[in-house]
């Protein structure tokens, strides 16, 4: 669809800078341009910063996508994935890609980012030698890590250390080679560099400083590295992370002014009036940048200029550096070199592993290094930015904000004391006032909500703590992030942390979780064990062996225990539909085993109550012969899909609600979920199947299927909310399954859908399931994969002898003696 009269905007490169630029542009001047993007990487715009959490396993690629495919469609943007621009023709005003696509432009934005620097040593081109820049590099590292062999990372800077930590977490034996005497020397002074090295080494990573690589050894692929001093270190993977160069070759070939990067003015304009450059490839006022905060500033300026507002100008500011390795807290800002005109204040606490240094010139902070305890980073940053005269608080400055002005403040008071224009999120340049006013204006109650509306903490995430504190300040008791309720008395960790760490550390058994996460008891308790068992079943469907001893009795014996120690048995009746043969089989079983009570349940099936445990396998065998499988009426898993008779019988019916219900139930039975999951499908808005108080419900309408979610009709009563309307049965199934999988992956054990949804926000769920096609598809596929292992009828397994011991007493003793 082209927009008549619109100008043509072409963008080369689809990284974080142009992505942000377009967001601003569409807000300021919707419809002004027809946008076409060429991206050498074959994918949408994602959060490059978060590649390290993907490498370590703390996030998936889906989690870090910034603009899903849907976004490009909605905004009418044509994205050529996997097209590298090979020529800019300024006379013809066209660009041409390596696949031969030529596109003309009125305005061109170059956003080609950087290229990793490759040290020119022999062997640099061997297979197994890679850089660290994009998702393909992460995939290559993950593949190599499967071998659990030796890896070398060249470069002890931010990128290199994040790569090393990720590879070590993935089980590789990692050595970091760094050419300077201390790590991250550009951001840290030697003392902090030393503490960092210790922390890195504690993670099992070897660090060799002052290491000069002479050559990379190997014939067909990399086998190791030889250093200048003759040392040889074997490795099957070498990651070069020694720095980046602005990617300006294309601009240079086109005759644009290029120095270190593409030379642009403060309005992001290159030496050609119709060509702009943003991001790491651009050079403003002699400076090039490698952190997103200034790039986002460029994006803001470029968007304004494209929209016709030529006032905004790019201004340089220092960006704090943080290392994103779980468990290492590090903050560095500005200039901290020694000098005669400078003084410094240092605080060390060896036992706590804390080091703080503030560099002062003319009574103003010019640099700060914090290691181990970084919560005052925002405050120091604010003082530096504003050039505050610190002479009055010089003596207590280093102790941080809480020590200023008498009694120590608690961390909350410290955040409260920050001025409204204090920067909270460095990546996105979001200040305190913007966050608090948005929370109030939009009625936000969740972190995800704040991320969605303000972008604060949405890039590298290291300001999450501050944002949460602001939320509790603004919302009072309605939000309480600090109080992470531990799972149980066996651990300090809350459910969310445990779930995250299970993935991050690749923990695949209950003992592994307890060992690695430092459980305080030897084998847990009845609260944490079933939760852990569920998390492991959900996260590693193909690898984890279900631990039945960690399941509640109902799930262990696949029946519901009753107060007298007998059990109840509920066979599945798909969609609540049954037949004469099924009813006859049930009647026979009731007679044969003298089952005292037969009752119709609220979920449209039949409950046989009062069965002795020893009789269960025989009861199941008889039911199985009639085609019944377990109704899983005992499971934290899919229970029932209630239906009405729908268009087949009912005069109001709009769709085949019975058929859809049966289809959903047959697709989803056997799946374990955090808490029980009950569904319903009604054939019209009269809603005879009561779909609007279910975990997930469907109301059929003439135009399709309205999907509902997050209802409750138990201890709490709550009507559902609408997730969205879809046209076909296939789509309805895909959306319901994706929603279920999202819930499976994120909720805390025993948390029903409505509670989970309230916690993470209904809008966020709608966004991921209704709008983000890639994400929905990925959820759907993960569910389908896990069903391969889950859809086994537990009754027939036990009829064939599994877990025999469960159903028989070990022995009967004493009867003989007693009779004597």
């Amino acid at each position: 669809m082209t927009n008549l009269g619109a100008q043509k905007l072409v963008i080369i490169g689809n990284g974080m800078a142009p992505g942000r630029m377009l967001e601003h542009l569409f807000e300021q001047a919707p419809g002004l341009y027809d946008v076409t993007i060429f991206n050498a990487e074959p994918r949408v715009n994602y959060d490059r910063i978060m590649l390290s959490p993907v490498l370590s396993g703390e996030k998936t690629f889906e989690d870090i996508i910034i603009h899903g495919d849907g976004w490009y469609i909605e905004n009418n943007v044509t994205l050529y994935k996997g097209h590298r621009i090979v020529e800019i023709n300024r006379q013809a005003r066209t660009v041409t890609s390596d696949h031969g696509v030529t596109e003309s432009y009125d305005k061109l934005v170059i956003a080609t980012g950087s290229v990793p620097f490759i040290i020119p040593v022999p062997g640099k081109d061997l297979p197994g030698v890679i850089t660290y820049r994009d998702l393909d590099d992460v995939d290559a590292m993950l593949l190599a890590a499967q071998s659990r062999e030796k890896a070398i990372v060249i470069g002890g800077g931010l990128l290199g250390l994040e790569a090393a930590a990720g590879l070590a977490l993935r089980g590789m034996d990692v050595t970091v080679l760094h050419v300077m005497p201390t790590l991250m020397e550009r951001q840290l002074d030697p003392a902090a560099g030393y503490l960092l090295q210790k922390a890195v080494e504690e993670r099992g990573i070897k660090v060799i400083t002052k290491a000069n690589t002479k050559r990379i050894i190997g014939t067909d692929r990399v086998e190791g590295i030889e250093l200048d001093n003759g040392t040889i270190i074997p490795a099957t993977l070498v990651v070069m992370a020694v720095g980046i160069r602005p990617n300006a070759g294309l601009a240079k070939d086109a005759g644009l002014a290029v120095n270190r990067g593409i030379v642009v003015d403060a309005g992001m304009q290159s030496s050609d009036g119709d060509i702009l450059a943003v991001g790491e490839c651009a050079e403003v006022d002699g400076m090039v940048y490698g952190l997103v905060a200034p790039l986002y500033e460029m994006a803001r300026v470029a968007a304004a200029h494209l929209a016709g507002d030529t006032k905004p100008a790019f201004v340089h500011s220092d960006t704090p550096t943080k290392l994103k390795v779980t468990g290492i807290n590090l903050f560095s800002l500005g200039d901290f070199a020694d000098g005669d005109d400078r003084e410094e204040i240092v605080l060390r606490d060896a036992t706590a592993g804390i080091y703080k240094r503030v560099v002062i010139k003319d009574n103003r902070i010019i640099g700060t290094v914090l290691y181990g305890e970084t919560s005052d980073g925002a405050w120091f940053n604010d003082l530096k930015k504003k050039g505050t005269d610190i002479s009055a608080m010089r003596d207590t400055l280093i102790f941080g904000q809480s020590f200023q002005g008498g009694a120590p403040l608690d961390p909350m008071a410290a955040v409260a004391a920050l001025p409204d224009d204090a920067e909270i999120c460095g990546c996105n340049g979001i200040c305190k006032g913007k966050i608090t006013s948005t929370i109030t204006a939009k009625g936000l109650t969740t972190l995800d909500g704040v991320r969605a509306h303000t972008k604060a903490s949405a890039s590298c995430g290291s300001c999450t703590g501050l944002v949460e504190q602001l939320m509790s300040l603004t919302l009072g008791d309605a939000y309480n992030p600090a109080a992470v309720t531990p799972m149980c008395t066996c651990t300090e960790l809350g459910h969310d942390d445990v779930r995250r760490l299970i993935k991050a550390k690749g923990l695949k058994s209950i003992p592994a979780v307890m060992q690695e996460l430092e459980w305080k008891t030897s084998c847990g308790c009845a609260k944490c064990r079933p939760a852990l068992n569920y998390y492991l079943v959900c996260d590693w469907p193909d690898e984890y062996a279900d631990d039945y001893q960690s399941r509640f009795i109902n799930e262990r014996v696949h029946a519901n225990i009753q107060k007298d120690g007998t059990y109840s048995v509920v066979p599945r009746m798909w969609g609540g539909v049954t037949s004469a043969a099924e009813l006859r089989a049930i009647a026979d079983v009731v007679d044969k085993f003298e089952i005292p009570m037969v009752k119709v349940t609220g979920g449209q099936r039949i409950d046989l109550l009062g069965v002795e445990k020893e009789d269960l396998p025989a009861v199941w065998a008889d039911l199985g012969k009639a085609g019944f499988v377990s109704g899983q009426a005992y499971a934290k898993g899919l229970r029932t899909v209630k239906t009405c008779v729908g268009s087949d019988w009912c005069r109001f019916g709009t769709q085949d609600s019975t058929g859809l219900g049966i289809r959903i139930e047959k697709f989803m039975w056997g799946s374990w979920t955090p808490a029980k999951l009950k569904l319903a499908v009604s054939g019209c808005p009269r809603n005879c199947a009561e779909a609007t108080c279910k975990d997930i419900g469907v109301i059929c309408v003439d135009s399709g299927f309205e999907i509902h979610f997050a209802g409750a009709a138990g201890l709490d009563i709550k009507g559902t909310d609408v997730l969205g309307l879809v046209k076909t049965e296939d789509e309805a199934l895909e959306h319901i399954v994706a929603l279920t999988q999202m819930y499976r992956e994120q909720a805390r054990y025993l948390e029903r859908i409505y509670k989970w949804a309230k916690r993470i926000g209904h809008d966020e769920i709608r966004r991921q399931i209704m709008e983000d096609h890639d994400k929905r598809r990925a959820y759907y596929e993960r569910f389908v994969f896990s069903q391969k292992f889950a859809q086994v009828d537990p009754w027939s397994e036990r009829v064939s002898g599994k877990d025999k011991h469960e159903f028989k007493p070990m022995a009967a003793v004493g009867f003989h003696q007693a009779a004597e």
């Binding site: 008891t521 030897s522 084998c523 847990g524 308790c525 009845a526 064990r529 079933p530 039945y548 001893q549 960690s550 399941r551 509640f552 009795i553 109902n554 262990r556 014996v557 225990i561 107060k563 120690g565 011991h805 007493p809 070990m810 022995a811 009967a812 003793v813 004493g814 009867f815 003696q817 007693a818």
Partner: protein
């Protein structure tokens, strides 16, 4: 009053962190095997409302009742934490994995 040791089976008949019951005229006895391969036997009746302890989750040297989550010590038979109550413990002997429980004749007579 004499103590009879009565064989009830092999330790491997009980799953690790699990339990089996032994039927007696006096009611059921629950025999537990902990993660550390220790064996304990207690009355299979929760002091709260009679729940079958053998069906609970076994952790450390304790079991959590499946009905309302009392945690019962396998060693002492007493409810742990804030709850109160106690069940009878029964001596168990483990010789090379062959288990027997002590059965007091007097108790049996009384039970008749």
């Amino acid at each position: 009053m004499t103590t009879n040791w009565i064989a009830i089976g092999h330790i491997d008949d009980i799953p690790l962190r699990g339990a089996r019951c032994v039927k007696t005229p006096d009611g059921k006895i629950a025999v537990f095997r902990t993660a550390e391969n220790e064996v304990f036997a207690i009355e299979d009746q929760c002091p709260h409302k009679g729940g079958p302890l053998s069906q609970g989750i076994v952790h450390g040297r304790a079991v959590t009742c499946p009905l309302h989550n009392f945690v019962i010590s396998l060693e002492s038979g007493r409810a742990l934490g804030a709850d109160e109550g106690e069940v009878r413990t029964i001596p168990v002997r483990n010789i090379d994995g062959q288990l027997s429980i002590a059965f007091e004749a007097a108790a049996l007579v009384a039970a008749e």
